[in-house]
């Protein structure tokens, strides 16, 4: 039987929302990975510098990781079949990812808890692993999702781990690592004081070239070989232009715009991959009829509606306090403990209360 390709608008919307959550995860946690890779790149500068680099993401990385936890749960709720086939089918790759994510959390939390240089050096090494391995595995996983795997009639993936490590997927993994590293370097340029600020910018000026080359090769390969849509040329070109724009922006010290450019590049890449995957969620390369599609892998319309209402209520709140957090910690890392913009909140709230309830 032909796989159902007729998606309802609600299913299509949820497919887009899953893409948005992965985009949030890649944009936010992406620079965390990049900062951790930079810890390895600037290893020789000693554990003090490594600590300063990590301080730039200290307050925010944990909230960033929740984009994955929540995105995974939303995937479960909206597309249970996709979740079940994907997570059981990519078993060993996900096992590796989970183990790295666990020790990575401990590296963040425990690095400074013991005053011993060997202890810190050991956790810094875990940080580097925690920066490189997850993007690599995500790249491999997403390349295989968009390219398709072998699926039998029970919706069980029959591809082995070795099948997943094909050239296209390995290139995808390399692209994710390079792109997040560049993204993290530009984040660091925004968050650090001289002289480190200059160092990371010089490094970004080097890293940007292989990122452009590998990224272009990967997306073109994808668009020509696997994409199910022609319109994804548009985000593909956007991603390419944004990456190329990083070169002059970084040289002239427009750090904010350079970071915005890598953000746009990640968004373009995610839009290209997910856009070209639709209406499939996991194509079967062995027998197209076994493919999982937006239509046949989703929850009921009722569940999708319920979850959409919940998301519409809760996501704006989450975004509001997340943005506020970034405002509170928007200053460059230095020893200056100036009060943040949040301090006016209480005052203005008090003023508003007085205005409303004062006996005139």
């Amino acid at each position: 039987m032909e796989p159902l390709l007729e998606a309802t608008w609600l299913q299509a919307l949820w497919f887009a929302l899953i893409a948005v959550f992965f985009l949030g995860y890649f944009v936010l946690e992406g620079f965390d990975f990049g900062v951790q890779i930079t810890v390895g790149a600037l290893w020789r500068r000693g554990s003090g510098t490594r600590g300063t680099l990590l301080k730039t993401i200290g307050p925010v990385w944990e909230g960033n990781e929740v984009w994955l936890i929540t995105g995974g749960a939303l995937l479960f709720a909206a597309f249970p079949e996709w979740y079940a086939t994907l997570f059981s089918g990519f078993y060993l790759a996900l096992l590796g990812l989970l183990l790295v994510l666990i020790v990575r959390v401990c590296a963040f939390k425990w690095r400074d808890k013991v005053d011993d240089p060997r202890w810190r050096t050991a956790w810094d090494a875990v940080h580097v692993l925690g920066g490189i391995a997850p993007p690599l595995l995500w790249g491999v996983a997403f390349s295989n999702i968009v390219a398709g795997v072998a699926i039998d009639e029970n919706r069980w993936v029959t591809s082995s781990l070795l099948d997943l490590l094909n050239p296209f997927a390995l290139l995808g993994g390399a692209v994710f690592v390079l792109l997040f590293w560049l993204h993290g370097l530009l984040y660091l340029a925004l968050k650090l004081e001289q002289p480190l600020r200059g160092r990371v910018r010089r490094l970004a000026g080097i890293v940007v070239w292989p990122t452009i080359a590998a990224g272009a090769a990967f997306l073109l390969w994808y668009q020509l070989a696997y994409s199910h849509a022609a319109w994804t040329w548009a985000p593909l070109v956007l991603a390419a232009l944004a990456l190329i724009a990083v070169v002059p922006l970084n040289r002239t010290g427009r750090e904010g715009l350079a970071f915005a450019a890598t953000t746009a590049a990640i968004a373009g890449a995610v839009a290209t991959l997910f856009g070209g995957l639709f209406p499939y969620v996991l194509p079967a390369v062995n027998a197209p009829a076994n493919s999982l599609t937006v239509a046949n892998a989703s929850s009921t319309e009722h569940t999708l509606t319920v979850m959409l209402i919940a998301l519409a209520v809760l996501l704006p709140i989450v975004l509001a306090y997340t943005i506020w957090t970034y405002r509170v910690f928007r200053h460059r890392i230095s020893d200056d403990d100036s009060p943040a913009p949040g301090s006016q909140l209480l005052e203005s709230a008090k003023q508003g209360y007085r205005n409303a309830f004062e006996q005139r």
Binding site: I69, S88, L101, I102, K109, S299, G342, S343
Partner: protein, 518 residues
Amino acid sequence: MDALDLARWQFGITTVYHFIFVPLTIGLSLLVAVMNTRAVFAKDPVRKDAWTRMTKFFGSMLIVNFGIGIATGIVQEFQFGMNWSEYARFVGDVFGAPLALEGLAAFFLESVFLGLWIFGWGKLPEKIHLLTIWAVALGTTLSAYFIIAANSFMQHPVGATLNPETGRAELDPSQGSILAVLSNVTALAAFPHVVSGAWLVAGAFLTGVASWHMVRHHNRARALGLETAEGQEHHLAARDLFRPTVRFGVIAMCISAVVLVVSGDAQAKLMFEQQPMKMASAEAHCDTSTDVPFSILTVGGPDAFSTDCSGVTHLIEVPYVTSILATNDPHAELQGVDDLNAQYKEQFGETATDIHGNEVAVDYRPNLFVTYWSFRLMMGLAAFSGVLALWALWATRGRGENARTTGSRLFQWFAVLAIPMPFLANAAGWVFTEIGRQPWVVHPNPLDPTVRLMTMQGVSNHPGWMVLTSLVAFTLVYGVLAVLWFQMMRKAALKGVPLAQRDPETDELDTPTLSFDY
């Protein structure tokens, strides 16, 4: 060991491990929030100083503990898809929603605001900073609610019906849909039980750690002499700093005990209705009878570690108690394990189809030994906390100038021993409720048994070596991290608090700021 057994072991190990840290995070975030509030609003400089130091002291332990709880939680979420894909297909339409709500409503809240609390000191005004730790406490508690709602659906499915076309459970508007899932009576009973269990863990932790330091400072003060300056500092540390914390922990334990008993009783009554087999095996109650006693000690027959009920001998019993537990009527008739097994075989069949389409004989009895003893461990271990609370209250009796501290080594030793007991009781409770549900992963609702799934029908199609690989990998990594976690918690707990100093000129205390050396 086939893939099913390995996957079950993996779920058991990772869940119990995850739940070492979770109750401490849930309980401690609330207690630290209360201590922080007292620090912010205290008028008396001595109290302000004490609560600020304690907030910092226990806050640093909360941070150590928080991360590993989150990290092991990711495994829990992914595991449903990795090892239990057929379960995920069957219940995803219903079960995914509370998980997603947990992420949206709770995980973002606790993670973002913990970052704000740790790094926001001095960047945020004091009262906004205080609100951040309350947001963390709210987030941790909310996450418990959503995950209990999800688990309660497995114990007692509501709000969903079976779609005969797809063979899946689906949220059903006519059954109340997600609101029924979130207001599941099973969840409403279990949530206070789990949360108060977390308060007990944190209360015992607070009392244990603070008692240890109180005794230490008390004895240092007596050794140096109360008339010396340093001796006086130690005396004040014991009396003004650690004694209030000991008593605060006791209060938390007392509140928790009341909620635990009331909610536990409500849960037991529900369970006799919803999962009679679970309660029957908790009591090793084999044959249906009236006036059921509560068994204190049972020895097994030839198959002591199995599901077989026939060989057990009840040695010590308290008459009528189990009947009262179940229905408040001492003469109530309760069904026994063997009768229930026969009844279920008739109702659900002698065999069931596994994921490969094979017919497998089914035994509807959970492991008797495990359910019986985990149920008793859960209740028995909590008694340690009771003794600790009463002893700590007695040791710190008196008010004002007569407020006592104690130098008893025996009390010091017992206070530390009592810390792990509520952790173990929590673990035993989970082992009881999850093993007691077997062979079901989704236990049929007695009123509408169509939504049901056996554990063997929920497992993924994996070769045994693959599941074994992940089981070994998780166990090894978890083992190493547990050792490190314990060492760091021990270090942080032993570190204590620097002695308060008064400025000789102004006589002001050197109250620290709430910054964390992160």
